[in-house]
Amino acid sequence: MSNLNTETTLTTKNKTMAKIKDLFENQEVLILVAFLLLCVIMTIINDQFFTASNLTNVARQISINAILAVGMTFVILTGGIDLSVGSVMAFTGTIMAGMMLLVGIPPVYAVLIGIALGTVIGYINGMLVAYAKIPAIIVTLAMMEASRGLALLYTGGYPLSGLPQSFTFIGRGYAFGIIPMPVLIMIIVYILAYIILNHLPIGRYIYAIGGNEEAARLSGVKVKRYKILAYLISGVTAAIAGMILTSRLASGQPMAGVGFELDAIAAVVLGGTAIAGGRGHIFGTLLGAMLIGVLSNGLNLMGVSPYVQLVLKGVIIIGAIYYSSWRQKD
């Protein structure tokens, strides 16, 4: 009996140890420590940082990038990349604005049409990658150009302004009076992504495809289907981000979101997802987005020039990735 007990405690202990070891192998822990450290430093050197209004502001600022980064995480986990999200965000946003202003559809339907459009674009990306076997970087680069062009064509190059208050509430309002709506949406998107990646077979397949596509295929995983799904999810999150941005700006801006894909990729890789796929965690991505957000907020408060901020961002990304690849060498 006592023997049995030791055995059980041993396995539980082993399990805990393995989990702890796993934790330190993951970059999330490192990024979490970096994030907390950064927050402490910011709080010490600037008394405006750790205030309710500033923190709410930061949270709202990061939400768009953080949501884009969710879809990007799915795609990068399969070993791909999605450069189109910034443009898709602008395109779906202008379509939503156009539906409300030019066609006169109620906001709810306008939003649904925009999200459906994002889904279709993601699906096309996925089909081209999975079936036509064109490299993801080419497919999504082309889609980036095409979506931007379509957004400009649709709006004639001008912003579509004057959106109804019921729509701008999404970007500017508060849920329960305190949580900014974009932050609430971000939280919901992350919870859903967490469930998909960690508690549904789909998630396991996505990791497996990025880990070893051929082994996954020989194990009966429908590789093409789940690759397409990853791009499709990225299209959906781009459209959700487009909805938030359009509503924050209260106008559909065809030139919005230029370069956002790169911030999303930065959040994903900072969060510990391997750029070659197969390894990473959705909450790592959230931490990555938060780190980038807090850093730029803190530097803003300190009055550091935006030019310097860009340089710093570059240095931090290289530093973090170099550290993690150096650590994994053994």
């Binding site: 396995t11 082993n14 399990k15 393995a18 989990k19 796993d22 508690h199 549904l200 077979p201 396991r204 397949y205 990791y207 497996a208 880990g211 070893n212 051929e214 082994a215 996954a216 295929r217 020989l218 194990s219 009966g220 995983v221 429908k222 197969g278 390894r279």
Partner: protein, 500 residues
Amino acid sequence: MENILEIKNITREFPGVKALNDVSFNIRRGEIHALVGENGAGKSTLMKILSGVQDPSKGKIYLNGKEVVFKSPKDAQEVGISIIHQEFSLIPYLNGFENIFLGRELRKKNGLLDKKRMKTEAEKVMERLNANIDLSKPITLLSVANQQFIEIAKAIAIDTKVLIFDEPTASLTGKEIDKLFELIEMLKKSGVTIIYISHHLEEILAMCDRFTCLRDGEWVGTRSVEGCTKQDIVKMMVGREITNTYPDRTSWEKKKEEILLDVKKLTNSVVKDVSFSLKKGEILGIAGLVGAGRTETVRALIGADTTDEKEVYINGKRATIKSPTEALTHGIGLIPESRKTQGLILGMTVKNNITLPILNKISSKAGFLSRKKEESLVNKSIKDLLIKTPTMWQKVKHLSGGNQQKVVLAKWLNTECNILIFDEPTRGIDIGAKEEIYKLMRVLAEQGLSIIMISSELPEILGMSDRVLVMHKGKVISQLDVKETTSEEVMYYATGGVGK
């Protein structure tokens, strides 16, 4: 005749395997020396050591009586040892002379490339080789045979004394082979020593002076080709006693009648009109040399590769199998040849690898993965197959080869397939794990599982199978009953012998 190369007590160990064990022999100056042995006998490892790709764990190499130590292929080339690999090491979009001078480009005084001089120098080499190839064409536009000439020219241009050919005729046509032999003869006359690796014993008998035979990483003998027959060489290659690593046959010698799987006219770019059937509870061995189309056959069968023609019948009913997913739904699983690149997702845990094909079975009705079901199933597999791992959350890349193979096995056993294909099931794993896998295969067959086993190890084929399919150049050349055949006979067919 004096020795140019002395190989002394070379041993090379890999984790869990001794690829070479105390191998010693000499190569004489100016001879063509063949190296023969079954797949996995250690030929490639020895050549990698001679060409500086790998270091020996123990032992020494003497060139012209002086000890040489290679840290890289460049070191070996500098003292005059080069190798022509099966896969050429040419840069496809560079042209002939750029490839020949790769890494040691000639320059003008101002530092720019001296293309003119490189071209004329390269042409001189080609003249020596008696070959007429356009050196300003990119390599991709040349035929395989001409690419091989460029590769040889590259070696000759750096004044190679010992030239190693690794299966040089594998992808050449008859005429091209004759031309290559002429070239080799000419090289010999000009004083180059040749080491020639080939499965084609006729080639060796026709061209070589002496041969050395390796078996299981050990030296078996070095003999003059004169007076040798093909049978003599085959005997040396396979001559070991079949040891008792294979489970007893008696309990399993029941007649198997019921045909489960019928494959007809399987044809694609590699395999030609392959037909065979598999009975319930049978182990069907597929023997043949590397490149005979064995792996391609089973990959085509499960839909992992495309086919031009294929008819598959399961229990007499026609089945269409266009992808591994469909093969799985028909109860056919493939345990691939390479664990690391095809069998496993190395960065994933033991648990996640095992349950990958059956995630639907361990999900709740709502589609959520059931952690409880998953963990108990994986625990059972770890216990049943004696997988040595600290926990099920260990990444498989940290396990030994044998345990990795057991993880792949566990994955497929849990699918409850009734046909499992084992492609080289024991490659690169230690003898203990081998025996466990053999026992397991036998138990599974007794329980009614039908098994197709591809193996390059003849004792394994003979020790495990009921029937043997021998393949050569993409075709099934013979079907043998294991009770009535010998390893010599299997090897005879595997090397292309037709009739007797």
